[in-house]
């Protein structure tokens, strides 16, 4: 299991390769990569700055990943989340889960993204054509996370 919070970019192919190297018991790997969009709420976005709470971020991501491993039979979990200044098209986050079974891989990957969106202490500041603004939390994200309540 690997959790990384970093300013630098990551290489999806290299991460995938390292994640699956030498494994022969894995039937499926589900992955999600989140990217900066060039438009949000009708305004064009020129950049996004991700602020986070160092220490708590890693702690929360570890807790969420452990929870995923408790709920599904997973061979491994990878979470990478960037902070700092990003531009449209840049990668923000990558989550990968490996399991013998594809349902477990798919569900745990989505669970991780849903929980990460509501529990990991990151905040997005968008630079848009209408000025700078802090992204507001979405009710749809809370609803998505609520799906997984036990």
């Amino acid at each position: 299991m690997a959790i990384r919070v970093q300013a630098g970019d990551f290489d999806v192919g290299a991460e995938y390769a390292a994640f699956t190297a030498g494994r022969t018991s894995v039937g499926g790997v589900a992955m999600f990569v989140g990217l900066v969009r060039d438009i949000a709420g009708g305004a064009s976005v020129s950049a996004m700055t991700l602020e986070h709470y160092p220490g708590m971020t890693e702690k929360q991501l570890e807790t969420i990943a452990e929870e995923a491993r408790r709920r599904w039979p997973l061979d491994d979990v990878l979470v990478i989340h960037r902070h700092g200044r990003l531009e449209p098209g840049d990668r923000i986050v990558m989550v990968a889960t490996a399991s013998a079974h594809r349902d477990a891989a798919f569900e745990s990957c989505r669970f991780l993204m849903d929980w990460l969106k509501t529990k990991a202490p990151f905040w997005k500041l968008e630079a848009t054509s209408e000025g700078e603004r802090w992204v507001e939390a979405k009710e749809s994200d809370d609803a998505a996370a609520a799906r997984w309540a036990e």
């Binding site: 989140g34 991700l50 602020e51 986070h52 709470y53 220490g55 708590m56 702690k59 929360q60 989340h81 923000i92 986050v93 993204m113 990460l116 969106k117 509501t118 529990k119 990991a120 202490p121 990151f122 905040w123 997005k124 500041l125 802090w134 992204v135 507001e136 939390a137 994200d141």
Partner: protein
């Protein structure tokens, strides 16, 4: 007690962190938010809507009735928007 502010709470209050001497009667996360409002007009404005002021104690999300003590690391921030 050390308080950390993030995102627009940080920019509205104007500092990323401050150290406060907590009165004995301020014993919960919610009481702390109320007490912080009295420190300055900036605090009062930033913390006005408690629905969007979240609290973490020692890097864990907590509800407003969670107890706090002077040795805790307390953070205040808006709802998270990562991912």
């Amino acid at each position: 007690m050390k308080i950390l502010y993030f995102a627009w709470l940080r920019s509205k209050i104007g500092v990323p962190t401050e150290t406060v001497e907590l009165p004995a009667e301020v014993a919960t996360a919610g009481a702390l938010v109320e007490w912080l409002k009295t420190r300055s007009p900036r605090h009062a404005e930033a913390l006005a809507n408690s629905k969007v002021v979240k609290v973490a104690v020692n890097q864990e999300h907590v509800p407003y009735d969670h107890p706090i003590s002077s040795t805790d690391e307390v953070a205040l921030f808006p709802p998270v928007t990562g991912g």
